[in-house]
């Protein structure tokens, strides 16, 4: 039996809203109970807009008519309604979350609607603000002015160099014993075949020389706590070798031999990058201590260091797809079937001198059984390997099996050169299988251009496998990636309306890239970090959702965590919380919550419902338009002087994903004869899936309202792009005529 005491404690104040569960008639109650001071500025746009005679919006509302919005001046953080031109214009001057815009130019005057409509629209805005909690402008404090860069490959090195050049301290953490990353293992880079030393050596030298960069090799980021501007990081270094002590003895005594992407080496080895010493590969080292016996400078002891940083760059690169998964290609079974990196290293090292080679592009790529996507750079890497072979051994026969040659942009020239000048033979067709026949391998494929099946015999086969992300850091730092490349995270980071992010992803960690693209990307990432760390605080750009712990606690239903497209709403310990950095302010989670526990700043349930009942009159058509697309289409109808019925009332929403059942039902119960929700075209939602979620909700709701005897066609969801003003007009006309869709 639950103890009575516990139940007694539940009898908190305000156990039920005054209006009961049916919905707040809070406008009335606020009139009765208290005087709210609220200013309404109504701009005539220099006499262009004719105003209604009745401008009384209730108690405590002060109305000021102006001719130019510049007369308003600063509004601070006050609750203010500004009626005038479209919010697209007004947002250039006002960015307070407590300002409610009313569009009486594009959506009233310019479409020939009467001043009476202005009264309704302003009333809705007034009612909304009266029923909304004032929103405090949030800021992120930037306490720590240094950066952590994870990964010592080209991306990490270039990002670190750029940040450090601007005077900011950088901690560069590399997992392996040496800087250089994947590029350090390559012989050459496409298209020309420039040895990596051209790019990597000067970059490493600049980084090592820079006093603002502290380098940790053979080190792991153990833990990260905190958020933007204030991270606490633990870095663990797994032993090291003192620089400059080059003595091959340690390598000779090491009993562990490792195959490092095609090249055999010991667990203690040398690599001509940095540091200039032997390094221990602790993933293979068995800590036998033989090397320590011959060299006193070697330490196998771990060391831990705590760092306070303000921003983090993930530049951990990528991994090859496991070629043994493509069983029909015989990798791991036939010794002469190699991956691209293995082949390049063995070949340039002189270990193999093949007479004939088949290069298989798209090995496992664009294949729903393996990697559904295109890794983008493998076609070029295949051409690079072909040229490498031909440069050194023109007599070797080289074939490339490909599906489509994606030599995008300037690389078409590279493709033409390899095909025309180097005598490489191209077979368009994905091999079905690779077999061993005596001494040679047989590659079976179709040749689409010849229209027949072919068998190509070769001494070696090189599999151009695609790439997969290195997920370790994404998981550790809570980057929503679900085991895939964090494309959506990167895209949303770079959206102009995004909040500053404390975690930036640079280079091929975000998606496969060539070296030149990686360098460009690293510079962009560095700018993001510098912009953050040069400030003491940064205002938050978007409204955020907050979760009322009086209603939702102890892990609760958690459905909002699955609705958030950004992973911003997540379980932290026992409670669902919203990460202010990741939240983009779409309101999808707010619309999802069935308990009213999740509210979006500036678009709360109470405020929005009050706005709807204040705006809608009997027989109106209510249109909820997304601010990114459809609302702009309605504006365009204004400056094109198109006409649509005056009883079409528009409410601007951050995303159709914010529109919930309560809002739609409120519109109907306030007298609307039709309700339209219109958002971005499919796959083009600013918040990825808000429009699809809205479509599901509306589809479900149609079934429900039909049970109530409402024509389901009176409720519509539409995709209206920003230029589709005529489509907007057609649809609202249709809804207004009552004939439905």
């Amino acid at each position: 039996m639950p103890p009575l005491k516990r139940l007694m404690s539940l009898l908190g104040p305000g156990g039920k809203s005054e209006a009961g569960p049916a919905g707040p008639d809070t406008v009335k109650s606020s009139k009765n109970n208290e005087v709210i001071n609220l200013k309404v500025f109504v701009c005539t746009c220099n006499g262009e807009i004719k105003l209604p005679e009745d401008m009384n919006f209730g108690d405590g509302v002060e109305v000021k008519v102006i001719d130019d919005i510049k007369e308003i001046g600063s509004v601070g953080n006050d609750k203010v309604v500004i009626a005038g031109p479209t919010p697209r214009v007004l947002e250039k001057f006002f960015d307070s979350p407590n300002v409610e815009f009313v569009n009486i130019r594009e959506q009233v005057a310019w479409v020939g609607h009467s001043p009476a409509k202005i009264k309704d629209l302003i009333q809705g805005a007034v009612d909304k603000l009266k029923n909304s909690e004032p929103v405090e402008k949030k800021t992120f404090d930037i306490k720590n002015k240094s950066a952590l860069v994870i990964g010592g490959g080209v991306a990490g090195l270039e990002t670190a160099r750029q940040i450090a050049d601007s005077g900011i301290k950088v901690h560069l953490v590399e997992k392996t014993p040496f800087l250089g990353g994947t590029v350090a293992k390559l012989d050459r880079l496409y298209p020309g075949g420039t040895p990596n030393s051209h790019t990597l050596y000067p970059l490493i030298n600049e980084v090592v020389r820079n006093d603002n960069i502290e380098i940790f090799t053979n080190s792991d980021v153990e833990s990260v706590e905190g958020g933007l501007g204030n991270y606490k990081v633990k870095v663990k270094t797994r032993g090291n070798v003192v620089e400059g002590k080059l003595d091959k003895k340690c390598e000779e005594v090491c009993p562990v031999t490792v195959n490092d992407d095609g090249i055999d080496r010991k667990a203690i080895y040398y690599m001509p990058t940095h540091p200039d010493s032997y390094g221990i590969d602790f993933d293979s080292c068995n800590k036998c201590g033989e090397c320590v016996k011959v060299c006193g400078e070697i330490s196998l002891d771990e060391a831990e260091k705590s760092l306070d940083v303000g921003a983090i760059v993930i530049a951990t690169g990528l991994k090859d797809y496991d070629a043994s998964q493509i069983t029909e290609y015989g990798y791991g079974k036939y010794p002469n079937v190699l991956t691209k990196l293995e082949f390049e290293r063995k070949f340039s090292n002189g270990e193999i001198k093949p007479k004939s080679v088949v290069i298989v592009n798209c090995a496992g790529s664009r294949d729903k059984n393996h990697l559904p996507y295109c890794s983008r750079v493998c076609c070029l890497l295949g051409l690079k390997e072909a040229k490498l072979i031909k440069d050194n051994s023109p007599e070797t026969d080289v074939y490339i099996n490909y599906i489509d040659m994606r030599s995008y942009g300037p690389f078409e020239d590279f493709y033409n050169t390899v095909r025309e000048n180097y005598g490489v033979k191209f077979i368009q067709g994905r091999p079905s299988e690779i077999l061993q026949d005596n001494e040679s391998l047989v590659v079976r494929s179709e040749d689409i251009l010849l229209g027949k099946n072919v068998e190509t015999r070769a001494e070696y086969v090189v599999l151009m496998t695609g790439f997969v992300p290195d997920n370790e850091m994404f998981q550790k730092l809570g980057i929503p990636a679900n085991g895939e490349f964090p494309v959506e995270y990167v895209n949303s980071c770079r959206s102009v309306d995004a909040n500053p992010r404390g975690i930036v992803i640079a280079g091929a960690a975000a998606f496969p890239k060539g070296v030149a693209e990686t360098v460009t990307d690293a510079r962009e990432s560095a700018v993001e970090v510098i912009n953050v760390l040069n400030k003491d605080f940064i205002p938050k750009k978007t409204p955020t959702a907050t979760i009322n712990s009086d209603i939702c606690s102890e892990a609760d239903c958690r459905i909002c965590t699955s609705a958030c497209p950004y992973g911003a709403v997540a379980l932290q310990g026992e409670e669902v919380t919203v990460n202010d950095e990741l939240c983009m302010g779409c309101g999808i989670c707010t619309a999802t919550c069935a308990a009213g526990a999740n509210q979006l700043d500036g678009h709360s349930d109470k405020g929005t419902l009050a706005q709807i009942s204040g705006t809608v009159k009997e027989g109106d058509v209510m249109a909820f338009l997304c601010k990114w697309s459809s609302y702009n289409a309605a504006d365009k109808a204004g400056y094109e002087k198109l006409s649509y019925p005056e009883n079409v009332k528009i409410i601007r929403v951050p995303c159709t994903g914010r529109v919930d059942a309560q809002m739609i039902l409120k519109a109907f119960s306030s007298g609307a004869k039709g309700v339209m929700i219109a958002g971005c075209p499919p796959d083009a939602c600013h918040y990825f899936t808000g429009n699809f979620k809205a479509r599901k909700r509306v589809t479900a709701l149609k079934q429900l309202i039909e049970q109530f005897g409402i024509n389901p066609e009176a409720l519509r969801i539409e995709w209206i792009g920003k230029d589709e003003s005529k489509r907007f007009v057609d649809i609202v006309n249709d809804l207004n005529s009552g004939e439905g869709g």
């Binding site: 009898l11 809203s17 009213g596 059942a661 309560q662 079934q703």
Partner: protein
């Protein structure tokens, strides 16, 4: 209340199944403790009582009245108003009084349609003249007979009279009833208008394990699947009203491996329990939402049989939708 003086308690019934009366008796031997502190002055189900006895009482003479059932006809409304007048504290007792309850589902139709069905269309009815109940009837001998007037709508108690506290659930659990009684006896009453239950959602009290990613691919009715006692119903494709429902019942249905049907009503910040729940289900229904065509989306929602009855089982008279049908967009 002076020392030693007993509370005067009334239990009044509106349109009710009487389960709420039984719920009061279900507090078991604790009723003896209650009776030490209170005299039951009016309770038609369990003792002989006449309306005129109540009418004869002074205003405010009854200390506490538990009103259960919804307001369906003029008799219910008369009694609701009478009990309000005669009682210091009026408590909406049970889901019907709080939200209209199961009876409220009749709000999808109206008096005319109900009479047509009951007094004409049912197979066992033989009523060629379509005689229906009339509020007043005078026979040939001049006798005047009256019946309560049957309303078009079913109402919650607070739609008709001022209510002090709400005690939801269908029916209220003995523990919750004792909480209310203790609060009354001790005088430690919550602010007027409070709901005597939890502020949190039912999920906050439910100990079932929830999946990391919340999604529903297919909806099952409880009899169609073998239910895992440890896992959240929604993760098993079974509709459970928990996320849209106020806690306070002690998850008794869920402990019995039966999904929540929402009898505790919405939380204080939610304004349409049924719409909200449907909305939430729609959000997580079908994972690959971007790959679905309009027709496929329609098809998956056809899996929800009777959305109105499922999602508004206890709260239809409190839904925003009810008001729609009176005006606005109508079906042809």
């Amino acid at each position: 209340m002076a020392e030693g003086e007993k509370l005067k308690l009334a239990i009044c019934r509106g349109a009710t199944c009487s389960g709420c009366d039984i719920a009061v008796l279900d507090i078991h031997e604790r009723i003896l403790t209650v009776l030490e502190h209170a005299d039951i002055v009016f309770a038609p189900t369990i003792m002989d009582a006449k309306y005129k006895d109540v009418e004869a009482m002074a205003d405010g003479e009854i200390d506490v009245c538990l009103y259960h059932g919804s307001v369906r006809d003029s008799e219910n409304e008369h009694m609701a108003k009478l009990m309000r007048q005669k009682s210091k504290t009026l408590i909406a007792f049970g889901a019907c009084a709080c939200f209209g309850g199961i009876f409220g589902l009749a709000n999808v139709t109206n008096k005319e349609e109900i009479f047509e069905e009951v007094y004409k269309n049912t197979p066992s009815t033989d009523n060629p003249d379509f005689v229906t109940p009339q509020p007043e009837y005078k026979d040939e001998a001049g006798h005047e007979l009256t019946l309560p007037e049957f309303y078009d709508d079913v109402f919650a108690l607070d739609d008709k009279v001022d209510v002090d506290y709400f005690l939801p659930l269908c029916p209220p659990t003995p523990d919750l009833i004792m909480t209310a009684i203790n609060a009354i006896v001790s005088g430690e009453l919550p602010p007027k208008g409070a709901t005597i239950a939890s502020d949190k959602t039912l999920c906050s009290e439910c100990e079932r394990k929830k999946a990391d990613t919340r999604k529903i691919d297919k909806i099952y009715r409880p009899h169609e699947v073998e239910l895992d006692q440890e896992k959240c119903f929604l993760d098993q494709g079974v509709l459970c009203m928990g996320p849209a429902t106020r806690a306070g019942c002690g998850t008794i249905c869920i402990n019995g491996n039966v999904p929540c049907r929402g009898c505790s009503g919405p939380t204080k910040e939610a304004f349409d329990q049924g719409g909200n729940m449907l909305n939430l289900i729609a959000t997580i229904f079908g994972v690959k939402e971007e790959e679905l065509t309009e027709e496929e989306v329609k098809k998956i929602f056809k899996q929800i049989k009777d959305p109105l009855g499922t999602f508004y089982r206890f709260t239809l008279p409190k839904s925003m939708l009810r008001r729609v049908r009176k005006g606005g967009a109508k079906n042809e």
